[in-house]
């Protein structure tokens, strides 16, 4: 995933206050990237270039929480947001199927 794609996806999170606030999402991003690096160092990750997927997923992981989840499941809200917003935001720079699946799996 390109940096510009990651920034475009973060815009979705920003518009929804990251679900539970920027601080939490940035903390999850920092810790997740730390774990990613550590697993890599231990030689058990076996993934290349997953950092941007981790970053985008961390920033998006709570969208739809909490206000909308009072009536609907967070997963459903998040799924609707991501499946409608991602194609619009990334019209000219689509994610690979694997990256999109990974983000949806991470977030949902």
């Amino acid at each position: 995933m390109e940096l510009s794609q990651c920034k475009a996806l973060e815009q979705i999170a920003i518009e929804r206050n990251y679900g539970r606030g920027k601080e939490h999402s940035y903390q999850v991003k920092r810790l997740a990237l730390g774990i990613y690096d550590e697993l890599n160092r231990l030689g058990i990750l076996d993934i290349r270039g997953g950092e941007k997927v981790i970053e985008a997923s961390a920033l998006l992981h709570d969208i739809g929480v909490p206000e909308e989840s009072r009536k609907l499941r967070h997963n459903k809200v998040a799924f609707d947001i991501l499946t409608t917003e991602i194609p619009k935001r990334l019209q000219f720079e689509p994610l690979s199927g694997q990256e999109l699946s990974a983000i949806l799996y991470c977030v949902l």
Partner: protein, 225 residues
Amino acid sequence: MNPSYIEKLASIIRVADALDHGLCQIVDGVRLELSDNRLIFRVIADDDIGEELGRAKEKSDLLKEAFNLEEVEFLLMQTHKLRILFVCGGNTCRSPMAKVLLTEKLREIDKLNLYEVDSAAYDEPTSKEASPDARETVKYILGEDLLADHKAKQLTGDMAEQSDIILVMGNRMKKGLPTDKTWTLKEYAGGSGEIEDPMTSIELDAYLKCAQEISSCIDKIALRL
């Protein structure tokens, strides 16, 4: 699509999210160790993070599955250097040699600032200083008499409690030490068995062989530190 790729990344997000369960950003970071297919998260924080550690454990099932692990554990590591303690019978030969060999290895890989390394005797020290043969061997390997100032000391309960990783030279030395942080040096390096005491050997180069064996284990351990 590679399901393993997706599960691995998702499992990382789940654990990271759990480590900020209280939305307080109190976790400073994590260090991971892998031993016998057991992944240990040493979670760095100054405050009580019992709730976060419990939540992370609950959320670690996918991680366990995605990385094919037997166990995932979360331990609090308050913001201090990780303490590694080597233990041998008398603290005059094997454990002091291991201490200086690891210290020099950490210096070489620029991680000395993250660890505190010490050594102690499981039994009563047989001498107050390092054995002359151990000193000669270290001097031969590292080019310096780094055990010249070594003072042998006996292992205490406090030392064991304050250590994060205890590496003993023989299996008998595990007795009475905390099972969750004690391994033989060879086990921690991914193998099995013991580092034999060169004092009991009749071979002329027993000390050198012993130091080389310790050094080989340390090289393997250093890859995970």
